[in-house]
């Protein structure tokens, strides 16, 4: 099942870039252009440090993946409705096909970013982007399936999650640095994105960030199992 999901995800990635000359490099170009423009604008409005460009680059890379993974998880089964209704294929396989596709696309962007940081920027660990994310993959696996099942049943969830994501973007250290925080907030300690961003920026995780990641992962493992055994067979009737 996992092998077939992986082959399917490669087919999806290939299909996505069919007839495109630059293919996955469009994602890299867009990321670099956005980061450069925002660095230029922020340097005129606020005082930003020398390494702000890389800081923003890594932040936006993770944010783009985080937000698109969550938004697309919600519609994963709805989009695959014709397949679910016509082929002997489990929702879990459909989900893993989407999951692999999402992370293959992420690594196609993350790899050139790491190479750029390695050659052109000062960084504690230029390849932290690549392996830092791997530590969070179990969390994303369970969270994504939970959202996919909920999204299939409750179609109003997508706009609600969209609103939450918008707030989360400004409430996480993506464009602002943690050192700029005037007070150490409870929220920042227990925001899973904060830990993830610290890790891929080559910093060590704080104890709170480790506890937070573990708690979130365990919670979503429970939700994942609940969704899998309780609702898996009903999904085809919802989409």
């Amino acid at each position: 099942m996992i092998k077939r999901a992986f082959v399917g995800s490669l087919f999806d990635v290939k299909r996505r870039f069919k007839l495109s000359i630059l293919g996955p490099f469009w994602g890299v170009i867009t990321l670099f252009v956005n980061s450069a423009l925002l660095t230029y604008i922020f340097s005129m409005v606020f005082s930003v440090n020398e390494g702000y460009f890389v800081y923003l680059l890594a932040g936006l890379l993770i944010w783009n993946q985080f937000s698109s993974f969550i938004s697309e998880s919600l519609t994963c089964f709805v989009d695959a409705a014709p397949v679910l209704r016509n082929l002997k294929i489990t929702p879990l396989e459909i989900y893993f096909r989407y999951f692999f596709k999402s992370w293959i696309l992420f690594y196609l962007t993350a790899l050139p970013v790491s190479i750029y940081v390695f050659f052109f920027e000062k960084s504690n660990d230029p390849f932290a982007i690549l392996y830092g994310v791997i530590l969070y993959l179990p969390f994303f696996t369970f969270l994504g399936f939970f959202l996919a099942v909920l999204g299939a049943r409750f179609r109003d969830l997508s706009p609600i999650v969209g609103m939450i994501l918008q707030v989360l973007f400004y409430a996480s250290p993506i464009i602002w640095t943690e050192s700029a925080l005037k007070i150490n907030t409870f929220w920042n300690d227990f925001n899973i994105l904060t830990g993830m961003l610290s890790l891929i920026r080559g910093e060590l995780l704080s104890l709170n960030e480790i506890i937070c990641s573990l708690i979130f992962t365990i919670v979503f493992v429970i939700f994942f199992l609940l969704m899998l055994f309780r609702f898996s067979k009903r999904i085809v009737l919802w989409v």
Partner: protein
């Protein structure tokens, strides 16, 4: 043919398809009473009773045609046998390896070439996309150089050839088909019939949902007629 003799036993099987966000009353206004399954309201959710207490035994060697008007439950019954839908009530015992092709367009990407689609379709059916299998599908389809072109350039007959040629490398005891096969020409349909019969052998089961007399005369020896989710005749 597998070790187990293929057989399908269905006892008091019902399937209720929930319709969320729609009341039974407003549905009744839009659905004509003579078409489709009956409507019911279970736990505050409107349901279409797509299959209603079906009892059937399909024996080894049966070649069955499912007939009935639109919405009578033909495709739904096939999907239940394929274990895509879980029955709401009753029991279903399916012995043997099941393969199904319901909507030929599923899994096919029209932007990709014939070869790329064969590769993916084989994987989707759980078969190795080895060079040998791809060659076998190519030979069976007779699409030759067209397999290098995007599927969007194919006619509907060529499209059917591409999809149904995959059957030439599959191993199955029970084959479930919906009527998409209709668009292929007579020559290909005869060839497909021979291959399906060879693969099913004397004991394999074939079930086709179709309105077409041509398909029924070519493939089928028994007929099950459905009406509003009930078996109205089995001959």
């Amino acid at each position: 043919m597998g070790i187990v003799k293929p057989k399908i036993s269905i006892k008091n099987l019902s399937l209720a398809l929930p319709i969320y966000g729609q009341s039974t009353r407003s549905l009744k206004k839009t659905v004509l009473s003579s078409i489709g399954g009956k409507l019911s309201n279970l736990d505050g959710v409107s349901n279409i009773i797509a299959l209603d207490k079906i009892n059937l035994v399909i024996n080894p060697g049966d070649r069955v045609g499912l007939t009935g008007h639109n919405g009578s439950g033909k495709s739904t019954l096939l999907r239940v046998i394929a274990r895509i839908y879980e029955p709401s009530d009753g029991s279903l015992i399916v012995k043997g390896r099941v393969h199904c092709i319901f909507d030929p367009s599923i899994g096919v990407d029209r932007e990709m070439s014939g070869y790329e689609n064969i590769h993916w379709l084989l994987s989707l059916h759980g078969v190795s996309s080895s060079k040998k299998n791809i060659e076998k599908v190519k030979k069976f389809s007779e699409l030759d150089e067209y397999l290098n072109f995007p599927v969007k350039t194919y006619s509907s007959g060529m499209f059917a050839r591409l999809v149904y040629s995959v059957l030439s490398v599959l191993e199955f005891d029970i084959l479930l088909l919906d009527e998409g096969i209709l668009v292929s020409d007579n020559k290909f349909m005869d060839k497909l019939k021979r291959t399906i019969n060879e693969k099913l052998g004397k004991e394999g089961i074939l079930i086709i949902a179709s309105h077409s007399i041509d398909i029924k005369s070519k493939f089928v020896t028994k007929e099950i007629r459905l009406s509003q989710g009930l078996v109205s005749s089995y001959s």
